[in-house]
């Protein structure tokens, strides 16, 4: 059964029909937002049942759209949190990607700006590596980007998408070693992107991110995970009641190969490890439960089939 990430948007009236349907079909709801009279569900649904969901949603005026970024956690790396670099363009993109289902985190190196003086500490590097992909927002000058790229890139193992002022071709030429994706004409600017052209660039970034994510999904599919992250999320919700008291917008953040549990590691890691998934197989059999570098959260890294010889 292949689960496909989709977004359901519809009225609040009778939306429980849809939530029950998703659960009955074996799908998972990753995030649920109720905004005014509207419900937005970011969920995974079996590929064969998407048409069925659409048909049932139609009388409720619900809409099911593909959202390839649902279930991904993206690091948007801004060179600093100063007004020079925020809120545009980093927040523009972070916010735009959130609307289509991604969970984006802004990561900003303490000494990121500048050319020669730009640095990335080990903690910052580890935090970036805990995400599915990183989108690095550079400035406007190609000589600066060319100079600081090797220092910033060192140690980052997740796919990187480079955003910068020069055009895409120039970025491809100056970036060594190569990144996974490039989006040009989006360097430092100090006003809100409102024109069609500016919004179009955000779409370009999303397209590039989607391309890289799809490529990563294909690679994961070659050696599938021992358990689906969305399933693990449901199990943690069921077995660790403390998660319901967490006030964070996403207490359980689903990633492509694991999930982040926003509970203290020392207190709850044991509970998470002991959760039984099926037939005596526990979380610790199929996943590594490690402390996250982000606060004192727990990071669950699901191991592939080739390591565990199990798929549950």
């Amino acid at each position: 059964m292949t689960l496909v990430p989709v977004t359901y948007k519809g009225g609040i009236y009778q939306h429980d029909i849809i939530t029950d349907l998703i659960e009955d079909l074996g799908g998972y709801i990753v995030q649920k937002h109720i905004i005014g009279g509207e419900v937005v569900l970011q969920c995974f649904i079996p590929r064969d049942d998407i048409e069925l969901t659409r048909r049932i949603a139609k009388p409720l005026f619900g809409e099911v759209t593909d959202s390839p970024l649902v279930g991904t956690e993206i690091a948007v790396v801004s060179m600093s949190l100063e007004i020079h670099h925020l809120p545009h363009p980093s927040c523009d993109f972070a916010e735009y990607a959130r609307r289509i289902g991604a969970k984006t985190n802004m990561v900003s190196p303490a000494r990121g700006p500048g050319k020669r003086i730009s640095q990335l500490s080990d903690e910052e590097r580890d935090v970036i590596n805990e995400h599915d992909i990183a989108v690095i927002a550079f400035g406007n000058f190609e000589s600066c980007i060319e100079y600081k790229w090797p220092a910033l890139r060192r140690g980052i193992e997740v796919p990187i998408i480079v955003m910068g002022g020069p055009d895409t071709e120039t970025l491809k030429r100056i970036i060594h070693p190569a990144a996974e994706g490039y989006v040009g004409h989006v360097g430092r600017f100090m006003r809100r992107g409102k024109t069609e052209e500016e919004i179009g660039i955000l779409d370009e970034i999303v397209a590039e991110v989607t391309r890289v994510i799809e490529k990563k999904r294909e690679e994961i599919a070659k050696d599938p995970l021992s358990v689906s992250p969305a399933r693990l999320m449901d199990l943690i919700r069921e077995h660790v009641p403390a998660i319901h008291d967490v006030t964070s917008p996403t207490p359980l953040t689903v990633q492509m190969e694991g999930l982040r549990v926003k509970l203290p590691y020392d207190t709850f890691a044991g509970d998470v490890r002991q959760i039984e998934i099926e037939d005596g197989i526990t979380v610790s059999d199929v996943a590594e439960v490690v402390p996250s570098r982000m606060r004192d959260y727990i990071l669950v890294k699901i191991r592939p089939f080739s390591e565990t010889n199990t798929v549950v």
């Binding site: 700006p113 050319k115 190609e142 600017f189 100090m190």
Partner: protein, 193 residues
């Protein structure tokens, strides 16, 4: 940048120059500083790296007086002020309280202030100086250029006077004598430092 007589951004990377032209425009517009700058030349060389901004300022002598934002209407023993712009309302009230005392000043709503039994003529009240916008001008200009310059360029040398200014920034130690560089940039605008 209609109100600026001369505005150029010089940079070995043409696309970078275009972006910085836009950034400069946005920042100066946001901080309402286009009205004070007469000429502006920006030079950026990311290879050195160095950022230079030189320019001349317009003469701003305008003090903000009560008559600039309020109508003063005397009637019997009270004077009614009808406020058209609230920006300077707070400093104006402060001055009134100091001069006349709080019991003689009343503000029934946002746009009306009434003075009771004050011995000052309406004309004198109209001429009262409420604020001097040029007092914070240099502070605002330096802040704006810090925003325009690339963030890593934290080593700065700046010189602001009533008529002209120069702002040099880099991430490395600045060269000992910046005068020739600043002189060259002023010369491009047809000015002397």
């Amino acid at each position: 940048m209609l109100s600026i007589e001369y505005f150029e951004v010089e940079c070995p990377e043409p696309l970078g120059a275009a972006y910085y032209r836009q950034i400069t425009n946005d920042v100066l517009l946001d901080h309402n500083l286009l009205r004070v700058i007469n000429k502006l030349h920006i030079f950026i060389d990311p290879k050195v790296p160095v950022f230079v901004a030189v320019g001349t300022l317009k003469k701003i002598s305008t003090m903000i007086r009560v008559r600039d934002f309020a109508n003063v209407n005397p009637l019997g023993d009270k004077i009614t002020l009808v406020i058209s712009d609230e920006t300077y309302l707070a400093p104006m009230l402060k001055i009134f309280w100091q001069q006349f005392g709080k019991d003689k000043v009343e503000q029934p709503d946002r746009f009306t202030v009434i003075l009771y039994n004050v011995e000052t003529e309406a004309r004198e009240i109209e001429d009262l100086v409420v604020a001097d916008p040029s007092a914070s001008l240099f502070k605002d200009l330096i802040y704006a250029f810090r925003l325009i310059a690339p963030e890593g360029f934290r080593v700065r040398s700046e010189k602001f006077s009533r008529e002209r200014f120069s702002f040099v920034a880099s991430e490395d130690t600045l060269a000992g004598d910046l005068a020739p560089l600043i002189r060259d940039k002023f010369a491009l605008m047809g000015e002397k430092p």
